[in-house]
């Protein structure tokens, strides 16, 4: 019950800061629309490839506004008040995760809806893409908790923008990694963003053959690592304030 109570509070804080929500929703939709209009002759920009790319890209903004929310809670001592209440450590983290899932759902549904309007085929993959996308969003939420636990309110957005850049350059959403060289390809394989995109792409296109075992291992390893780190750092720093 306390988790739901805390999640409810977090949702209210998020939706009442419309700038971050609008930004994290409007920018991905704008990019999807504009790149479709430009009609770039590259498979990366075909709707079945670019739509999951845009969804993963939009999750980097989830990391950002999660980090900002938590950094703000720490700076106002709100978490100090809760730290001496009967709330347990796991209830904080699950309260943040639960609060982030509805905005993530809205993001995914909005991007998929626009992609369908723009001519995405086959449409049935969207039914599988939604639950898979929710799972894909988890390491991004954990990264947001992690950054919010170690930065102050001003630095949170700056540090989180690293995720935005990493997704853009290493997920393969804008270009095929093989175009940039073997060294860069290794970086893409080691980081979780390309694997996240591959998993979502497979779900949307109902083509599981594109998934390599490496994608599942890398994605799961990072998700677990980000959550463990975020829980440890959150508990350590939640009442440290500014």
């Amino acid at each position: 019950m306390r988790t739901l109570n805390f999640a409810g509070r977090n949702i209210k804080e998020l939706v009442r800061d419309p700038l971050s929500i609008i930004f994290s929703l409007a920018l991905p939709l704008f990019l999807l629309f504009i790149f479709k209009q430009i009609n770039i002759p590259s498979p990366s920009y075909a709707l079945d490839n670019f739509t999951p790319g845009i969804i993963v890209f939009s999750f980097s903004f989830v990391s950002m506004f999660t980090a900002i929310l938590i950094a703000k809670d720490r700076s106002t001592s709100f978490l100090t008040r809760l730290a001496v209440s009967p709330m347990k450590p796991h209830e904080y983290v699950s309260g943040y995760v639960l609060a982030l899932l509805p905005p993530v759902c809205v993001q995914v549904v909005a991007v998929l809806a626009l992609a369908l309007i723009l001519g995405l085929k086959p449409p049935w993959g969207v039914l599988l893409a939604l639950p898979v996308a929710l799972v894909i969003s988890l390491p991004f939420i954990a990264l947001g908790i992690l950054f919010g636990s170690i930065t102050n309110e001003k630095a949170a957005s700056g540090v989180s923008s690293i995720v935005v850049q990493l997704v853009s350059f290493t997920s393969g959403m804008y270009f095929d990694r093989s175009l940039v060289g073997d060294g860069f390809a290794v970086v893409c394989e080691v980081l979780p963003f390309e694997s996240a995109l591959t998993l979502l792409k497979a779900a949307l296109n109902l083509d599981l053959s594109v998934i390599e075992p490496r994608n599942i291992i890398v994605f799961c390893a990072y998700t677990v690592a980000f959550f463990v780190l975020s829980v440890v750092l959150f508990n350590k720093n939640m009442s440290k304030g500014k």
């Binding site: 805390f6 008040r81 001496v84 009967p86 009442s239």
Partner: protein, 243 residues
């Protein structure tokens, strides 16, 4: 009954000793003020006693329970109003109260209705906390700390940054809790300690300089006012005495 008892309570951060060998006793129902200049160790003391941070050495007991080992049993019995107002900024006053009621698992409506009436919050009930004036935010912060009807209340610089009228109003609220709730408040306003507290402890560079009632402290230092006694205590070295 003793609400708080500390023995040799010490907190070190690397080479810095924030609180050193603090021993005091606070009886249930008292308003006890920790007085000291900035950096005297007041907030660190509150953090240790409110189970937020463990001491480096020494011991603290809250209602006979160990502040480190028994913190899960202690926490539902206390309320804390930190130095910053610590409210949820985008939530309305009502939502803040309901949220805290949910945190403590108390009946939201009856708990919040009583606090709304006591603090006169009805006129700002629908306003977001971040839009409130400093005085209202402090009132809300105090109300949030009382949502679980705590036996022990920690107030860390409760009137910091308030104008004189808002400060007097908040003093009235704190005084109304006298005898029903044990209150430990930190302040660097001498007149606040003098006006509210049944007993005062003076901290200087993390050490207990003196403790007792206002009259006892004045008598002890041959001072005409608590401020003079405070200055004398701050200059006169340390004295680790039981309150």
């Amino acid at each position: 009954m003793t609400a708080i008892k500390t023995q040799g309570l010490t907190k070190k951060y690397k080479d810095v000793v924030a609180v050193s060998d603090l021993s005091l006793e606070i009886d249930e129902g008292e308003i006890f003020a920790l007085l000291g200049v900035n950096g005297a160790g007041k907030t660190t003391t509150i953090k240790m006693l409110s189970t937020l941070i463990p001491p480096s050495s020494g011991k603290a007991e809250i209602f006979g329970m160990d502040a480190v080992k028994d913190k899960d049993a202690i926490r539902p019995l206390m309320g804390v109003s930190p130095q910053e107002t610590a409210v949820a900024p985008a939530l309305t006053v009502k939502e803040n109260l309901e949220f805290m009621a949910g945190v403590y698992g108390v009946n939201g409506k009856s708990a919040t209705d009583e606090l709304i009436e006591r603090f006169g919050l009805s006129e700002v009930l629908g306003r977001k906390a971040k839009t409130l004036s400093g005085g209202w935010q402090r009132k809300l912060s105090l109300a949030l700390a009382l949502v679980n009807s705590p036996r022990l209340l920690f107030l860390d610089e409760p009137t910091l940054g308030l104008d004189v009228l808002a400060r007097r109003q908040l003093w009235k609220e704190v005084e109304s809790l006298k005898s029903k709730t044990t209150i430990l408040l930190t302040t660097h306003y001498i007149e606040e300690a003098e006006s509210l507290a049944t007993k005062v402890a003076m901290l200087n560079k993390g050490k207990l300089a003196a403790a007792g009632t206002v009259d006892e402290l004045k008598e002890k230092y041959g001072a005409a006012s608590l401020e003079e006694a405070f200055v004398a205590a701050a200059r006169g070295g340390d004295e680790n005495a039981n309150a």
